[in-house]
C-alpha cells in the first residue's frame, strides 16, 4: 500500500483530535489548557515530521522552521515580564461619543 505512512499519520491525527475534544469537557481548570496545548503540539509535530519531511530537510531549513516560533517566544516572554509584574488599578474611561458620525470620506 503506497500510502501506508500517510494513513497511519492520519489515524494518529484523528485520535489526537478525539482526545483533545474529549479532554475539553473535563473540569480540571488550568490543566485543560495544558492538555489541549500539548495535544496541539503533538499534532503539529506529526504534520511537520511526516507530511512536511522536516527531519530529512537540510539544517538551514530546520533552523528556519523553528526561528519564527523562537521569536514569538521572545515576544511573549519579555512582554509577559511586563504584564506579570505590572500592578494596574483600573480607572473609569468612556470612549468618545461622536456627536455626529464622522462622514466616511474623512475617516
Amino acid at each position: 500500500m503506497r500510502y501506508k505512512r500517510e494513513m497511519i499519520v492520519w489515524t494518529g491525527l484523528m485520535a489526537l483530535l478525539a482526545m483533545t475534544f474529549g479532554a475539553a469537557w473535563l473540569r480540571i481548570g488550568t490543566w485543560n489548557t495544558v492538555i489541549s496545548f500539548t495535544i496541539a503540539v503533538a499534532k503539529a509535530a506529526l504534520v511537520m515530521a511526516f507530511f512536511m519531511h522536516l527531519p530529512e530537510s537540510s539544517r538551514s531549513v530546520r533552523i528556519a522552521a523553528f526561528t519564527a516560533v523562537f521569536m514569538l517566544g521572545i515576544l511573549f516572554a519579555i512582554s509577559g515580564s511586563d504584564y506579570a509584574t505590572r500592578r494596574v488599578d483600573v480607572a473609569p474611561w468612556q470612549p468618545p461619543r461622536q456627536l455626529s458620525p464622522i462622514p466616511p470620506a474623512r475617516r
Partner: protein, 222 residues
C-alpha cells in the same frame, strides 16, 4: 517561460538562468518557502499575543464567549483540514509515480478545503445572527460583555485571516490540478507541487492551534 531558462535533462525540470544546477534551484526554492512560512507565522504573532493578553486578563469572559462558539462545526472543520493535509501528503507521494492519481488526490484536498470554508461560512452566519460580531451590533450577557467582545474580535480576526490563507491555498491547488490534468508537467513540476504542499500543511498547522485556542476554553463550565 522566459528564454533565460534551460532544460535540465536528467531532472526533467527547467533551471532558471541564475542557478547553476537543478539541485541548487530546488534547495533555494525549498529554503525560500520555509522562510516565507516563518514570515506568515510572525504575521499571526500579534493576534496570538492579543489572545494571550485577553485570556490572562478576562479568563471567565473568554470562557463564556468560547462556549458560545459551535464546537461541533469546529471539530468537524478540524477533521476536514487534517484529512486534507493527509491527502495533500499522499498527492506528493503519488506524484512521483503517476500524475493521474496525484490529480485525484489534489482534487480531494481542494474539495476538503472548500468544505472547510463552507462550514466556516455557516458558523459565521450563525454567529452573525446571534449578534456576536464585535462593534455596534454586539450583544452578550452584561457580566462578560467587554471580555467577550474582545474574544470575538480576536476570533473573527484569527479565523478570518486563516480562512483567507486557506482560500488562497484552495485556488492555487485547483489551478495546479488543472495544469497537471492538462499534462503540462513542465509547468506543474514536482518542485512546485512540494511548495504547494508545504504551504497547505502550514495552513493546517495554524488551524491545529486555533481550534483548541478558540473552541475549547473552559468547555466544561467555568
Amino acid at each position: 517561460m522566459s528564454a533565460g531558462v534551460r532544460i535540465d535533462a536528467q531532472a526533467e525540470m527547467q533551471v532558471a538562468e541564475q542557478f547553476d544546477s537543478a539541485v541548487q534551484q530546488h534547495q533555494a526554492a525549498t529554503f525560500g518557502v520555509w522562510i516565507f512560512l516563518a514570515t506568515e507565522l510572525m504575521f499571526f504573532g500579534p493576534l496570538f499575543l492579543g489572545y494571550v493578553y485577553g485570556r490572562m486578563h478576562f479568563s471567565e469572559a473568554f470562557g463564556a464567549a468560547s462556549r458560545h462558539t459551535d464546537i461541533a462545526l469546529g471539530t468537524l472543520n478540524t477533521a476536514l483540514l487534517l484529512t486534507s493535509s493527509a491527502t495533500m501528503a499522499a498527492a506528493t507521494v503519488a506524484r512521483k509515480v503517476s500524475a493521474r492519481v496525484a490529480v485525484w488526490l489534489l482534487l480531494a484536498t481542494a474539495l476538503l478545503g472548500i468544505g472547510f470554508l463552507v462550514v466556516k461560512g455557516m458558523e459565521y452566519h450563525k454567529e452573525w445572527d446571534e449578534a456576536l460580531f464585535p462593534g455596534a451590533r454586539f450583544s452578550f450577557e452584561a457580566a462578560y460583555a467587554d471580555g467577550a467582545q474582545m474574544f470575538f474580535f480576536l476570533y473573527f480576526a484569527l479565523t478570518g485571516l486563516h480562512a483567507l490563507h486557506l482560500f488562497i491555498g484552495v485556488t492555487l491547488t485547483l489551478f495546479f490540478t488543472f495544469n497537471l490534468r492538462r499534462g503540462r508537467t513542465l509547468f506543474a513540476n514536482e518542485e512546485k507541487h512540494e511548495i504547494l504542499a508545504l504551504y497547505w500543511h502550514f495552513v493546517d498547522l495554524v488551524w491545529i492551534f486555533l481550534y483548541p485556542m478558540l473552541y475549547l476554553i473552559q468547555r466544561g463550565g467555568g
